[in-house]
């Protein structure tokens, strides 16, 4: 594995390392010239990545305790923060973290006016691939946890800075409480005193990791590492910084990103919806398939039963036949009944006429025997009553009576040789 270039930036000094141990260049005074000289060094190995380690006095790492926020409130909070950073431009990195059920927001904002910007721009302009931007005090917290133990107590790391003495960084769990340069014991004491006003128990539960040779004696629970470059080695071996640091994007770009994100999410949603619907249709088709198979078998079976049978023709034939039968045309039954009646009543049929029409009508002429002792009218009336009994719903019209009793006729008893002729019409319903 190739060793990375590590560019260690403090307020007063710039140092270039190759790996953790090989110091290539140091500059303390004219930092602009330093960039030119560093470029010359780095251009010799343009494929080796360059990692920027920032360790300044300026408290650029900030933390804020957050109240309980719902996700959308958190988004709103973040959008306000971003808007604030955008007005100042520069670079920004942030993340949320939790400690003891309380939420914190940590961020680093290097504004456009900050002197660090020139270094960040310069590093960006180099052909060497970027190895990331690391804030040393922040990464020191991770180093502390690895070296000591994961704890929610107070932890302090002391590490040397090449010219300006040493830096002490104090954490409480994940929270960074203080990062300060110190020249001696007094500075350390004043830092602890300062913190003790907010955290009165700091003296009792403070674990210290020291990378310097002359560790102040008043500090309790001190673990001393013999290798002063241990932190640098750790920073060199880190894969990525704990805080992702990038250029603060403009609002239009942000809107574009949001729009792109929404569009992608919408497409993802639509894709999912289409897949769901497609699978649902597929499931339904699979359910329908056996039903269709069964229905096809049934159709085949029924067709085999109806083989060579022209059912529509048969239906038409039946329908035609029933229509014909429904027409009240057949008088034969009426004739038979009438024949029996005439025989019984001793009446002789002279003629009978039935013509096909809308109604069933029988016109008949008949002769009646004039019986001695019985008036002809009584005989005729009995016949008519019998007719009415036989055809109860029919109308019987007497066209001509057998009496010859009108004033213009000869009325004589007993009757002459020719029998009296009557004519009636029976209209069936």
């Amino acid at each position: 594995m190739k060793k990375k270039f590590l560019l260690y930036l403090t307020d007063e000094e710039v140092t270039l390392y190759k790996g953790a141990n090989e110091k290539l260049y140091t500059c303390k005074e004219n930092l602009k010239d330093a960039q030119q000289q560093l470029q010359n060094v780095l251009s010799n190995s343009p494929k080796v990545s360059l990692r920027l380690l920032i360790d300044r006095n300026h408290q650029s790492i900030q933390e804020e305790k957050l109240p309980f926020l719902l996700p959308w409130d958190r988004m709103r909070f973040l959008s306000h923060k971003k808007a604030e950073w955008q007005t100042q431009g520069g670079y920004v990195g942030f993340h949320f973290f939790k400690q003891k059920r309380e939420a914190y927001f940590r961020w680093v904002h290097v504004s456009q006016k900050d002197s660090l910007i020139s270094w960040l721009s310069w590093v960006k302009s180099l052909p060497n691939p970027s190895g990331g931007i690391f804030f040393v005090p922040l990464e020191a917290g991770i180093f502390l946890k690895k070296t000591l133990s994961v704890s929610n107590n107070y932890q302090m790391i002391l590490y040397p800075l090449s010219s300006a003495g040493m830096r002490h960084v104090i954490f409480k769990g994940n929270r960074l409480l203080l990062s300060r340069l110190s020249q001696g014991e007094e500075d350390l004491k004043s830092s602890l005193h300062f913190l003790s006003r907010t955290y009165p128990d700091i003296h009792e539960s403070l674990d210290v990791l020291s990378l310097i040779k002359e560790t102040p004696s008043f500090l309790p629970h001190v673990k001393i590492l013999s290798d002063p470059q241990a932190l640098l080695s750790f920073l060199s071996a880190q894969k990525r910084p704990s805080l992702s640091f990038s250029q603060s994007s403009s609002s239009s770009l942000l809107r574009l990103r949001v729009a792109a994100g929404v569009a992608l999410l919408s497409m993802l949603f639509l894709t999912g919806y289409n897949v769901y619907q497609g699978l649902d249709y597929k499931r339904k088709v699979l359910t329908l398939s056996p039903e269709i198979g069964f229905l096809k078998d049934r159709v085949r079976y029924l067709n085999s039963l109806l083989k060579n049978t022209n059912v529509p023709t048969l239906r038409t034939a039946s329908e035609h036949y029933h229509y014909l039968r429904a027409r009240p045309l057949n008088p034969i039954e009426a004739f038979e009944k009438l024949s029996f009646l005439l025989k019984k009543q001793e009446i002789h049929l002279e003629n009978l006429r039935w013509l096909h029409g809308q109604k069933l009508e029988i016109m008949m002429s008949l002769v009646m025997e004039d019986k001695i002792g019985e008036p002809l009218a009584t005989h005729f009336e009995r016949f008519l009553l019998a007719c009415k009994d036989l055809f109860p719903k029919s109308q019987i019209h007497v066209i001509k009576g057998p009496f010859n009793s009108s004033i213009r006729e000869i009325f004589k008893t007993p009757s002459p040789t020719s029998l009296p002729l009557a004519q009636i019409k029976i209209i069936f319903p």
Binding site: S246, A260, A263, L264, M267, L268, L270, T271, N274, V275, Q277, G278, L279, Y281, K282, K284, V285, L288, S289, E291, I292, L295, K296, R298, V299, L302, N303, L305, L306, T309, V311, T313, L314, R315, T316, A317, S318, E319, H320, Y321, Y323, L324, R327, L329, N330, P331, I332, F335, E336, S339, L349, E350, N351, L352, R353, W354, L355, H356
Partner: protein, 193 residues
């Protein structure tokens, strides 16, 4: 980030392609579903129709056999019909029949029949002979007949001649009848006259 636009573009292309593929998948499955549903419905209708046909055949089996026998679909030959009339004459003294040319008759613009007018002139001793003949014809004629006109008249008067004939076991023509029938068979509208 230098790669962000490319990443977004790649994701956009990928998602668009994915969307197109899934949309196509959904459309194909939807078409399959509609096709299956339509097929199922068509099969159900077909089965219903076939079952109705079967029920119709079972219910009307005797009637259809009767219609086949009576020549409702294809009328019987006139020679056969005439022969049957001769056989059915029974106690009639005389029978003469005329089969008029077949015509197509439309009733209520829906029902079309082949119609043949048959005119029978009969002579008998008694009118009951004619009624019996009418009954036989309506039962056994090889076709569907509907009466159109029935006229019975007194023929010869009772006289010495007729009495003599009766004594000689001859049957005088006391009753004469004109019987007009229509012989119907099923027709089609496009049948040529």
């Amino acid at each position: 980030m230098k790669f962000e636009p490319f990443l977004m573009l790649g994701l956009g292309c990928g998602f668009t392609f994915g969307l197109w593929v899934t949309l196509n998948f959904k459309n194909v499955q939807s078409t399959n579903f509609i096709k299956s549903t339509t097929e199922k419905r068509a099969l159900q209708i077909q089965i219903k129709s076939l079952e109705d046909d079967l029920i119709f055949l079972r219910r009307h089996q005797k009637e259809l056999e009767f219609l086949f026998e009576k020549g409702w679909f294809i009328p019987k030959n006139r020679l056969i019909a005439g022969d049957v009339l001769e056989k059915l004459r029974g106690s009639l003294n005389n029978i003469q029949y005329t089969f008029e040319p077949e015509t197509i008759k439309c009733l209520e613009e829906t029902y079309t029949f082949k119609s043949t007018k048959i005119v029978l002139e009969v002579r008998a001793l008694l009118e009951s002979d004619i009624y019996a003949f009418l009954n036989r014809v309506s039962d056994k004629f090889p076709g569907i007949l509907t009466p159109q006109e029935i006229i019975l008249t007194r023929g010869e008067e009772l006289s010495e001649k007729t009495l003599l004939m009766l004594r000689q076991n001859k049957r005088p023509d006391f009753v004469r009848g004109k019987l007009v029938f229509e012989w119907f068979a099923m027709g089609t509208k496009d049948h040529e006259n």
